[in-house]
């Protein structure tokens, strides 16, 4: 039980002022601008949007600045902000096949229509610190002319999803059909387990990257082994289409960036279906590849029942996985332990003293014996 404490107002005010001073750092250095954060710490901003579950680059950059780079604190700020705004409605589902692709790779097919596009990736870098960034930052200045493909090679081309290619041969399960039902919204109604796949996806999409990474990793190490391939990972811009209730027609609101991952997994089949690949799905705001891939692994592991697999691994435990993946909930409960618990603790202190006194009264001889030993 937590009992409110009073007092300390002046100390709290001063602590907040000190926080603001420390956040600003050395005043002889220029203050970092939101545009700089958005442009140069893009992946931090993307993570805050994804786990804050709110797409707004400038707000996420502000949150990163205010939180002194503590991304979970920044995500908390974003979640708090979103509760202040009215909901206009639901957009139509994003069409990732119509993406302006900035990166797209497949680990299953080397020659796929549309090609393998590495884009801006850390893959294949040597992970050597570039000391030139510490002085003048010339490394970012590339010769644009030399680094662009011929216009003929860069014409818009169709980029079918790898799962569509496998699907044509019936080698992979189809995605669950759109029956026209409204998907459950965890921001509008309390969740009770078990949940459907769309509820899992919404929960995982805003889940903590580190947590999903660890759980995804556990499935590879043998806890709910499902032998995944990255069928495809793509990142780029997709259009948001919205039908405003008062207008009654669809309009485009602009574009957002998302990362999509399709995992392709093993294939037992059943009495009614021949062996075929199964799949896990990840979709995340921004360029968050590690998160999208981890999400796909965990999403696939959670489907054990539907696919007739043996349960028992942590990543398969729906209630455990989904109840603990939200880092705002998690940090709220864990960090509240720092707040004053004096009354609770006093009660426990009294209890432990009473228990010791009772024990000493019941077994005086034991006490003397132990002391002698």
């Amino acid at each position: 039980m937590y009992v409110a404490a009073k007092g300390g107002e002046k100390a709290i005010r001063n602590a907040h002022a000190l926080l603001a001073k420390r956040r600003r750092g050395n005043k002889n250095l220029p203050s970092i601008s939101l545009a700089q954060i958005a442009q140069q710490l893009t992946l931090a901003v993307d993570r805050v949007m994804a786990e804050g579950s709110l797409y707004d680059v400038e707000l996420a950059a502000l949150a990163v600045k205010q939180a002194r780079g503590d991304l979970i604190e920044a995500i908390f700020l974003i979640r708090a902000f979103r509760t202040t705004l009215p909901r206009f409605g639901y957009a139509q589902a994003l069409d990732t096949s119509e993406m302006l692709v900035r990166r797209r790779v497949s680990a299953t097919y080397k020659d796929l229509p549309g090609g393998q596009l590495l884009g801006p990736t850390f893959d294949y870098t040597h992970r050597l610190l570039d000391t030139s960034l510490g002085v003048a930052d010339e490394a970012g200045e590339v010769d644009d002319e030399a680094r662009q493909a011929d216009p003929a090679d860069a014409a818009p081309v169709a980029m079918p999803r790898v799962t569509d290619l496998l699907g044509q041969e019936g080698l992979i399960e189809a995605a669950p059909a759109d029956e026209g039902a409204e998907p459950f919204d965890i921001t509008r109604a309390p969740v009770s387990f078990p949940v459907d796949r769309s509820t899992r996806l919404q929960t995982l999409a805003r889940g903590d990257e580190g947590y999903l990474l660890a759980l995804g990793y556990s499935t590879q190490r043998g806890y709910a082994r499902s032998h995944p391939f990255v069928g495809e990972i793509r990142f780029g811009d997709v259009e948001v289409i919205f039908e405003a209730p008062e207008l009654g027609f669809e309009l485009s609101l602009g574009t957002v960036q998302v990362t999509e991952c399709q995992s392709v997994n093993q294939f037992k089949g059943s009495a009614t279906t021949p062996p075929q690949f199964t799949r896990g799905y990840g979709l995340v705001f921004g360029q968050c590849e590690r998160k999208a891939l981890s999400m796909a692994l965990v999403e696939r592991a959670l489907r054990w029942k539907e696919l007739g697999e043996e349960p028992g691994a942590p990543a398969q435990d729906e209630e455990f996985v989904l109840s603990h993946c939200d880092n705002v909930q998690a940090t709220g409960f864990v960090e509240h332990l720092k707040l004053p618990h004096y009354v609770d603790f006093q009660a426990e202190l009294d209890l432990v003293r009473r228990m010791r006194a009772e024990q000493a009264a019941e077994r005086p001889a034991d006490g003397i014996k132990e002391a002698a030993e």
């Binding site: 994804a50 797409y55 009215p86 206009f88 990166r103 669950p176 769309s198 259009e239 485009s252 609101l253």
Partner: protein, 137 residues
Amino acid sequence: MALMARAEAGELEAVLAGFAPLPAASDLKPPEVGLVMLRGRTGGDGAPFNLGEATVSRAAVRLEGGASGFAYRLGRDVKAARAAAILDALWQDEARRAEVDAALAPVRARLAAEAAQVRAETAATKVDFFTLVRGED
């Protein structure tokens, strides 16, 4: 309307300035920031699920002696949304539609150039992987 959602605030102001003097615009409802829940599809093409929200600004205006205009744009710039709504109202007037489209042409060209640059930069990172025959047998 897709163009007016993608145009930058400065671009919209510049386009509007080209139509000065503008008839007085009154708000049908105050410009407002809110949220739209974005959705994805399971597996990319299956049943929908709620992905996360985005900030959206909206405006609705009526021009004096003219049509009404509406705008919805991603982001929190209500001033830009109001400018887009005024442009939409001008566009509703058949006589000015071509003029509005022409004024937005630079926005269309900028967006096309940016997309072309992304495609060209990305295409330069296209890789042809090849697999090697292993020599153990």
